[in-house]
Amino acid sequence: MTLPTSLDEAVAALAAMPAAVPVAGGTDLMSAVNSGLLRPAALVGLGRISEIRGWQYADGNALLGACLTHARMGRSDFAALIPALAMAARAAGPPQIRNAGTLGGNIANAAPTGDALPVLAALEATVVLAGPDGTREIPVGHLTAGHDPLRPGELLAYVRAPLLHAPQTFLKATTRTGPGRATASVALVLDPARRGVRCAIGAVAPMPLRPLEAERWVSGLIDWDGSRALEPEACTAFGDYAAMSCIPDPAEGELPLALAHLRRTVAALARRALERALS
């Protein structure tokens, strides 16, 4: 295991050992090792690279270091910046996991239940990747969907997220009160400058889903220069619309019971997310 202290060193270490695997908090990686699914030949630890453990401002955006922990993102100064990401971070596992687990690990692991992912989708965030040939920037979804995977020697360095200065929410359904993986989650952000509501549904599909038509429909109903308030029926309709677009009726026959429950869950979460963002 090598422990580089800068991004450049880390990239060089990875390039020198093609079989090496980067490890940040190790909360996903080590459970794969412990259950015998993964036997990395070598590890490059990212924990000492201080340049990617914090965040900075860049042209109205925040540049978030890949090694920001969930615990750090859950604190109130970060919550003032990107509230939905802070809420997701607070819901991502028990405290031990949140102290170690990172934003970059959550993205690179790309689990359907990754809690940061729907928030980043709603924010339309991008990732900055550092590799032997310099850096490149792509939408988060391109990486997590595998359209444009990490290249050899490449590391996830930063996440660029817009600062929207407006309410955001994140809600996650699980089956207990204590920490648990999402059965469905909803991230919703208001973007007053672009007069838009953006929403992403997590955990119901391999990657977050955007109910674009529902977003567009509800964005048009909102009086962006006024109170922004909506009738309860409009919020309910938005929830149903969003849920229906993520979990459509099958071409034939009835929706299986488990999916019907999931759709109701998404509808309730999306409705509550919008109500809270507008209240």
């Binding site: 699980t174 089956t175 204590g178 648990g180 109500e275």
Partner: protein, 801 residues
């Protein structure tokens, strides 16, 4: 201090019950702290998985991926050829003709014998110099399976063409069962239910279902077997009952029991799941084969396959009642899924049937309980043992009856509650306090938590107090409160004529100028606090403050199992008994040495307190140190509870149980009715404990049992697919309550002595597991108006989708 002489006192009579509080510090009734507590909290307690030996090998178990299959061939050559591998064993390598074991029936193969009967059944063993090497070698064992049809429920088990899972049964129930795939069936008939039903103004029926709960102990199965020079073996092991393991291990190894020396090592919870063997025989076989110490530790995944689970059950009930709220009769049929091997299914059936009425007076009953053999995972002991399943069903019925009669559910229960002198469906008279109505009164009288308890002073919602918790799903939207009640009855100790005993060896001697008692038992401390209580008993009985608890091993007689709420009663009773015998000896010696100096030696009731022999009016006669001198008093004695008898196989009549234990719960829940999420915010419990030997431990047991019942109510279930495969063997997918799921648990304790039990105590560890589950479900029903006939209640049952 005046000396009061009682002329009538028999000379030297030793009081057998302590009528006054002992002055010796750290005695019974005090909340002395457990020695393992802090170590466990700070992560320094040594569990059996931490065992280590120079030069040891690691064992690994290859398990069946099929629930039912014939093994046509096994090729171990590639595994054996791997560097670092010391042995590979299959059924053919077993050293003796004893190739099966089992708690009640000897029906479980040590390694699969040509057939596997459940997903995860052990097929082969590997010992290697590194756990990873052992794991990889096991993957190279080539096993050819020919899948067989799967038996997965009652219909497929009892069908005409059902495969018979154990064709050559020779167990004692085989002759009584209507079908060879029924492990055991126990009917109970008392009075005339059909006739009594005619008196009923209302009749209520229901079908209920209980999912497969897991003990989910945190310390996985593990142990270390060390071959000894005499050809025997030393086994360091986490178990619930050393001597029962020993009885099953020795014949398979072909060793006399004296050559299998077992020592209890740190146990990380048990809850019934360590009553059966797991890796014990496997580690010993590998150690004897290789001549080296062998350690086996399961990981969490394997642990889900490594022990039996709670029996899933289907329960059909019918109750009738008169308009004024008196139950007329009860009929029920309880079908338990025992899985592939018998484990303790027969005893679970005995409990389910004999406790199926609950703590109520019903004179006319028709009861049938049975356990099936299927290809599902084997099921056996788990806290509550057959009484849990029945309690969910009869308490659901009580609410249904009360509602139909328009009565308050607590008043209805109180009207039918049993009390001392009541007759069980088995004809057994309940001959000690049974304060069922009083327990219900106590929980009902407790103040309710305030409405909207999640609102903080600043007006914001504390999401931790709401369904969904930190997942932030609700700030009060869609949330409805419900309140529910339940009460249950559990037996204590081993029943149905089992010769249940414990053994204690106690030594008393002077060490470093102080009297010291050493208590040696084979009792498994699995977290229940038994070692703490045993020391308290020794202090109280012998009046010494220094008590050494000898490690539990098989060098002393059996203590019986740490299960059935029995260890404080049984091993506590054995320690008390041995201490009384020691005290007799002390007094004998004292009379011999000092009797001539003071008449009280001959005439008064004498006690040992504060390191002295004192009269019952507190006059000191001699220091223990002087009485003992160099003498070591050393006594080992067995101790039994009063005998019980088997249930009649046709009528179910018989004095089957030693003691009964009662607890009642009130659950207060907040339900997010749109998402189907439940937050239990309070689960108040009242229990009669007879005598609280350690009040803090009593509370701990009640808290733990209550939370385990909550787990069954709303989240804990091993999902077994129709093809009998286990779907969720991990703590990501098998959820247990966390501290955020744990409600406030106010506890009211009654101490009504049972004259048959030591100190009047009652076994307490299980009763609160029973009533917790139905109380929570009753509260969810109250919040939602839904019938909810299955546990665990899942979100989709609440949202109705």
């Amino acid at each position: 201090m005046g000396t009061q002489m009682r002329g009538t006192a028999a000379p030297g009579r030793t009081p057998t019950s302590l009528s006054r509080r002992s002055r010796t510090k750290g005695g019974i009734g005090e909340s002395t702290l457990r020695p393992d507590g802090t170590l466990k909290v700070i992560g320094e307690f040594a569990y059996s998985s931490d065992l280590w030996h120079e030069d040891m090998l690691w064992g690994f178990t290859l398990r069946s991926p099929h629930p039912h299959a014939r093994i046509t061939s096994i090729d171990i050559s590639k595994a054996l050829a791997q560097a670092g591998v010391h042995a590979v064993l299959t059924h053919d390598d077993l050293p003796t003709a004893h190739t099966q074991y089992g708690l009640e029936y000897t029906d479980t193969p040590v390694l699969a014998d040509g057939v596997v009967r459940h997903h995860g059944e052990p097929v082969a063993l590997v010992a290697a110099d590194h756990p990873e090497t052992a794991r990889r070698a096991a993957a190279k064992i080539k096993v050819d399976y020919e899948p067989l049809p799967v038996v997965h429920d009652e219909a497929s088990a009892l069908a005409d063409d059902a495969p018979i899972l154990h064709p050559n049964r020779d167990d004692h129930h085989a002759g009584h069962v209507p079908h060879p795939n029924i492990v055991h069936r126990q009917p109970i008939i008392r009075g005339n239910a059909a006739e009594a039903a005619k008196r009923a103004d209302v009749i209520v029926t229901g079908e209920y279902e209980v999912g497969m709960q897991d003990q989910a102990f945190l310390g996985p199965e593990s142990g270390l077997a060390v071959p000894a020079e005499d050809g025997g073996i030393d086994l360091y092991i986490a178990t619930q009952w050393l001597h029962s393991d020993l009885r099953q291990i020795a014949p398979v190894l072909g060793l006399p029991e004296e050559k299998v020396r077992m020592t209890l090592s740190g146990v990380g919870g048990a809850f019934g799941g360590r009553e059966d063997l797991s890796m014990q025989i496997h580690a010993c076989l590998l150690a004897l084969r290789t001549g080296k110490p062998v350690k086996i530790v399961y990981n969490r995944f394997e642990s889900f396959f490594g022990h039996v689970h709670r029996h899933p059950a289907k329960l059909w009930y019918e109750h009738g009642a008169t308009k004024d709220g008196k139950i007329t009769h009860m009929k029920c049929r309880i079908v338990l899924d025992g899985g592939a091997y018998a484990s303790s299914s027969p005893a679970v059936v005995g409990n389910a049937s004999s406790l199926s009425v609950g703590p109520y007076v019903v004179d006319d009953v028709e009861i049938e309980a049975l356990a099936l053999y299927t290809n599902n995972p084997p099921c056996g002991a788990m806290r509550g043992f057959g009484a849990v399943q029945a309690c969910f069903a009869y308490e659901s019925q009580m609410d249904k009856l009360a509602e139909k009669l328009g009565m308050d559910p607590v008043e209805f229960r109180q009207k039918n509650a049993m009390s001392q002198g009541a007759i069980m469906p088995t004809g057994q008279i309940v001959d000690s306090p049974a304060p069922v109505a009083e327990l219900l009164r106590l929980i009902k009288a407790m103040p309710l938590p305030p409405e909207k308890q999640w609102e903080t002073a600043r007006g914001a919602a504390d999401v931790r107090a709401l369904p969904g918790g930190l997942s932030n799903t609700t700030h009060g939207e869609g949330v409805v409160r419900g309140v529910g009640y339940a009460v249950g009855i559990k037996n204590v100790g081993f029943s149905e004529g089992f010769d249940d005993y414990s053994t204690a060896r106690v030594q008393l001697q002077v060490i470093g100028g102080e009297p010291v008692a050493t208590v040696h038992t084979a009792m498994a401390e699995v977290g229940q606090g038994g070692i703490t209580v045993n020391a308290q008993i020794a202090r109280t009985e012998l009046g010494v403050t220094q008590v050494v608890i000898h490690p539990a091993d098989t060098q002393v007689g059996s203590a019986g199992s740490t299960s059935a709420s029995r260890q404080t009663y049984m091993t506590g009773g054995a320690v008390k008994n041995a201490c009384e015998a020691i005290r007799e000896k002390v007094l004998e010696t004292g009379r011999r040495k000092f009797g001539t100096y003071h008449p009280a030696w001959a005439t008064a009731e004498l006690l040992l307190e504060d390191g002295k022999v004192v009269t019952d009016s507190d006059e000191p006669l001699a220091d223990l140190v002087d009485v003992l001198g160099d003498e070591v008093i050393d006594i080992e004695l067995q101790w039994r509870h009063r005998p019980t008898e088997a249930f009649d196989p046709v009528t179910g009549q018989g004095f089957g149980h030693v003691q009964y234990s009662f607890a009642a719960h009130r659950a207060v829940v907040e339900v997010d009715t749109e998402l189907g999420l439940v937050k239990v915010i309070e689960l108040a419990c009242a229990q009669d404990v007879g005598k609280a030997l350690n009040p803090l431990s009593v509370k701990g047991q009640i808290h733990g049992a209550t939370v385990q019942g909550l787990g069954l109510a709303v989240m804990e279930e091993i999902i077994v697919a129709k093809d009998a495969k286990v779907c969720n063997p991990s703590f990501t997918d098998y959820l247990i309550p966390t501290i955020l799921d744990t409600p406030a648990i106010p506890v009211e304790v009654l101490e009504l002595a049972d004259e048959h039990a030591p100190y009047g105590l009652r076994g307490i560890g299980e009763a609160p597991t029973l009533s917790s589950t139905p109380a929570v479900v009753a509260a969810i029903r109250a919040a939602t108006g839904l019938p909810l006939v299955r546990v665990p209640v899942r979100p989709e049952h609440i949202t109705g989708t």
